[in-house]
């Protein structure tokens, strides 16, 4: 908080004193209180990206470099052309701070916000995905409470709006105990025409501005400035700054908006999120190079006596702003009446390039339309944390229990076990598009009805790897998430990210952000994946324990599969078939589940990424797909490849005889070989008769492919070729895999 002198009165603002001076310079006068409130919100970290913008410039050229990118960073959502006249819009953002205070409504309104971002591209939201982070559940009732109500908030909101939640991921780690992460992603599908009808700018003077949806109340005022402050003990007192969602109204808004867009009379569309009416009107006119006259008396408010300051800054949920052609006003209003959604014409655009807001006769805001978006930029300092050297140097202790015991502990561990408890609560089938459903594949796969085209999407990153090395960790996240959709047969088309980091004013925290962005940027350029959008959440720190969260640059990838026959699934299919592994295993136990679950250490060397090797493996996979040589595919993730194999056995109760004699080319210790989390590996099922052809192709593509076993119909996994033989019962493993979260949550 800064105290500044406004027209002789002392006012508390979130901005710095320097920023206040900049406001006065920009206007060449003292701002009104409503104007100052607008600057305060719009120049907050959350709205202005003032710390991250210099770094995020790296991502800015997606539209120029990829002809299928229709909207890139800076828009409400990224949009790509997926052929046959269809456009796909998608975005991911954070709702961490509200969820840490009030998990149910915080998560629900997060879903509400991300749906609006996609809807305002003019397309129908068809899927949600939610990557989450909490403290460890075992013995921690606070973490259990957050987890339970965040999941319920997502479920109740998503289910009610009829948008299936088709994927997500969750990690439990102490660093998130008091600062959970709730990231929400949404995918929308429409025609390219639909998208063209809904630019998020008001570029034509003389159009009507309509506010539609929920009424404007006192909830959420200054929610934005609050999100840019580190959480403190006082934050519980900020509870009124968390908004309340209304999924029913949202559902009506979705239908009314899509029907209004179809009339052809809508010329611009913007959702009201952080910064409320201030943000929406200034961005519409600023980006459109127009101005506007707004009359606040027309705004329908939820309570009497609201000041112009409150109306302009309210972040009440479920509101949209429409720019409508004059000749279509009646038609559009008729649509809103049909759906019984509240609406009001609150003003008109003009060519003044000034945003003028009246409260009756009184002019309360008169600003150059672009002024609010001209926030100062902060060049933040970055410094590699001193503790990293010691962490990276940590050696893996010799295990004191058997490999079998280790595997059974790992498969039951919170970060590896089944997340069925979560996805059973999400309606993941509404919309009749879900072809590969939750728990059945590495990614969610949706059909596009009326075509033979499919959308695959996955989201996630490994926070423990990023903690040890944000540059390689962010790249590793890309390898893993691309690997998820590739395992289902899809080619990655585009990426959006959600960067969750600590306080950017602390050089060590900012270093994590900086390195992660560089990692994502370098990888995406080398592998030709456009970055079409992002969101940054800083200040994820807990002042009580003085810890920052583990760096978490969440990555979402979408891709396309052409033809039903080209969808590959995870479960093993037929006993007698070969089990092959694509990619070598390196001694990369740093940040592994093995380290944290068995040895209670966090350090060691995390996985490193070699883009050329990764590209070669993906190329090989698509060649093998095309020749129909792969029966099942699952990418190797937490816990190493034995966990992967077990997961592939579970559905149809297969077993496996694994012989690792020829695979350990790097002469690793048994535990290194089994539990390293080297990224970019896949376990595939193939027919023995195709073995020679596959190995020949592998050589041609210069990819390491090894046969490591065969499928059996016995419920056991037998591992030989190590210093100790391992015999696992898959029924018991499945029981361990399934029971961890229900046992912790159903008490």
């Amino acid at each position: 908080m800064t105290k500044v002198n406004l027209n002789g009165e002392e006012v508390s603002v979130e901005m710095t004193g320097d920023e206040f001076e900049k406001v006065k310079d920009l206007l060449d006068r003292e701002p009104t209180i409503t104007e100052l409130g607008g600057f305060d919100v719009m120049w907050s970290e959350h709205c202005s990206y003032k710390s991250s913008r210099p770094k995020l410039k790296l991502f800015e050229d997606a539209e120029a470099n990829y002809d299928y990118v229709l909207a890139g960073p800076g828009e409400d959502a990224g949009v790509i052309d997926i052929g046959d006249g269809y456009a796909l819009a998608f975005r991911i953002e954070s709702h961490n701070h509200p969820s840490a205070i009030e998990p149910y409504h915080g998560a629900a309104t997060g879903i509400g916000g991300i749906i609006r971002d996609v809807l305002c591209m003019g397309v129908r939201p068809i899927a949600l995905l939610d990557p989450l982070r909490f403290g460890r559940l075992a013995g921690n009732s606070h973490s259990q409470w957050l987890f339970k109500y965040v999941v319920k908030g997502i479920a109740d909101y998503g289910n009610c709006t009829g948008i299936p939640t088709i994927g997500g991921e969750v990690e439990f780690d102490d660093s998130f105990e008091n600062n959970c992460l709730v990231n929400v992603a949404c995918i929308g599908l429409g025609t390219i025409e639909d998208f063209k009808h809904a630019p998020s700018r008001a570029y034509n003077p003389g159009d009507y501005i309509i506010l539609m949806g929920g009424s404007t109340g006192r909830d959420g005022i200054h929610g934005v400035t609050f999100a840019s402050r580190t959480l403190t003990e006082i934050s519980e007192a900020d509870r009124p700054a968390v908004q309340i969602g209304d999924p029913f109204t949202k559902k009506m808004i979705i239908e009314a908006t899509l029907e209004a867009v179809k009339t052809g009379f809508v010329r611009g569309l913007k959702d009201l999120g952080g910064g409320g009416l201030t943000c929406a009107t200034s961005e519409l006119t600023g980006d459109g190079n127009t101005g506007a006259n707004i009359d606040l008396r027309k705004v329908f408010t939820g309570e009497p006596g609201m000041t112009s300051y409150e109306i302009m800054l309210s972040e009440s949920q479920e509101r949209m702003a429409f720019i409508v052609k004059p000749e279509g006003l009646e038609t559009v209003l008729e649509v809103f009446k049909k759906y019984e959604v509240a609406h009001a014409v609150i003003g008109k655009t003009d060519d003044s390039k000034v945003l003028k807001v009246f409260d009756g006769e009184e002019l309360v805001v008169s600003l150059p339309a672009k002024a609010l978006s001209e926030s100062p930029i902060f060049k933040r300092q970055e410094k590699r944390p001193g503790y990293l050297d010691q962490l990276l140097a940590q050696k893996t202790p010799e295990p004191t229990i058997t490999l079998k015991e280790i595997i059974e502990k790992l498969i039951a561990s919170e970060n590896i076990c089944s997340k069925e408890w979560v996805y059973r609560q999400y309606d993941h089938e509404v919309g009749v598009r879900s072809v590969v459903k939750c728990g059945e594949g590495d990614s969610g796969v949706l059909r596009i009805i009326g075509t033979d085209k499919f959308i695959a999407a996955s989201v996630g990153v490994n926070s423990k790897h990023c903690y040890l090395d944000p540059y390689e960790g962010a790249k590793g996240g890309l390898v893993e998430i691309c690997g998820n959709i590739i395992a289902n047969g899809a080619e990655p088309m585009a990426m959006v990210n959600c960067c969750n980091f600590g306080n950017p004013e602390i050089p060590e925290s900012f270093w994590y952000f900086s390195k992660a962005v560089e990692g994502m940027n370098n990888f995406c350029r080398k592998l030709r994946i456009p970055i079409v959008g992002g969101n940054v959440s800083f200040y994820n720190e807990d002042e009580v324990s003085k810890t920052a969260i583990k760096a978490t640059p969440q990555i979402m990838i979408v891709g396309i599969i052409n033809g039903l026959e080209n969808i590959i699934t995870l479960p093993f299919k037929e006993s007698g078939n070969d089990i092959l592994i694509i990619g070598e295993t390196e001694a990369e136990l740093g940040g592994s589940e093995y380290h944290s679950v068995i040895h209670l250490i966090e350090g060691g060397i995390p996985p490193k990424i070699d883009e050329e090797k990764i590209q070669a493996r993906w190329n090989l996979l698509f060649e093998l797909y095309q020749k129909r040589l792969i029966k099942a595919n699952h990418d190797v993730n937490k816990g190493g490849f034995i966990i992967t194999i077990a997961e592939m056995c579970f559905k149809d109760k297969f077993g496996a005889d694994i012989d690792l004699t020829g695979y350990n080319v790097n002469n690793l210790r048994d535990d290194e070989l089994l539990f390293s989390e080297t990224v970019g590996r896949f376990v595939i099922e193939t027919n023995p008769k195709d073995q020679d052809e596959i190995l020949d192709l592998a050589e041609k593509f210069n990819v390491s492919v090894n046969k490591i076993g065969v499928l059996t119909s016995m419920p056991e996994i037998n591992i030989t070729g190590l210093n100790q033989d391992v015999k696992l019962n898959t029924n018991k493993m499945k029981e361990l895999y399934d029971s961890t979260i229900p046992d912790l949550m159903e008490i």
Binding site: F248, K251, Y426
Partner: protein
């Protein structure tokens, strides 16, 4: 003459477009999406009350929609024997509007549940099940938070042959493990005494295309094919 089906769009319905898609594109029957205030029974031979959260399920699931003018229209169809099906939220609406007896309570777990289950055909003489065999087991998904069927007079249901489906194992055993929500006697769907109105929690529209089904089944189609056949027989 062409058979015409209406799918009623209550505010907050969200399986409405799914039902329209299956009826029009999979079953091939002329089907319209009708806004609840605009629905006129005289235009239609059968009606589907789709799943979703009508009016946000505020107050209680289905209770507000039960007072929509669409239900007054549907009541005329109920009386003259035209087929009416309520799926999920549609079932909740039919119960609240007293087309069907009993109530749908919160799931025993107090959590929403979305999964594929098996249901056993108990009554194959209704407008929506007459092309099924008694004791057939159908694979079909559920997705609901308030689906626990309850009635204080289950005996009367049995006497009148109003129990249409029960949750069962894949082999057809009616066990507590096969009951996903705690419904009384595993009841998944019921009908009126005249057997032209059926309500059930599972979603036949999600089980009508092999591409969506874990075992490539299309058991959901039989509901709609039965309805079409029923309408044809009524008309001739």
């Amino acid at each position: 003459m062409t058979i015409k089906i209406a799918v009623i769009q209550f505010p907050g319905a969200n399986c409405d477009l799914d039902a329209v898609h299956v009826l029009n594109d999979v079953i091939g029957v002329n089907t319209s999406l009708v806004w609840h205030n605009h629905f006129k029974e005289a235009d239609f031979d059968g009606v589907v009350l789709p799943g979703g959260f009508s009016f946000g399920d505020y107050l209680r699931a289905g209770i507000i929609a039960a007072h929509s003018p669409a239900l007054d229209e549907a009541r005329i169809m109920l009386k003259d024997g035209r087929p009416i099906i309520g799926i999920c939220n549609g079932f909740q609406i039919l119960v609240e509007a007293e087309f069907l007896p009993g109530a749908l309570l919160q799931n025993e777990t107090l959590r929403f549940v979305c999964k594929w289950v098996n249901i056993k055909v108990i009554n194959n003489r209704t407008a929506f099940t007459h092309k099924m065999n008694k004791d057939d087991v159908l694979a079909i998904p559920i997705a609901h938070g308030e689906g626990r069927y309850y009635t204080d007079n289950v005996k009367k249901l049995e006497e009148n042959d109003q129990i249409v489906f029960k949750y069962s194992t894949e082999e057809g055993s009616i066990t507590s493990e096969a009951n996903p929500n705690g419904s009384l006697e595993n009841i998944a769907g019921i009908c009126n005494i005249e057997q032209n109105c059926v309500g059930l929690m599972p979603h036949p529209e999600r089980a009508s295309e092999s591409i969506l089904s874990p075992k490539q089944t299309t058991h959901g189609r039989i509901f709609f094919e039965s309805m079409i056949e029923f309408i044809k027989q009524r008309l001739t």
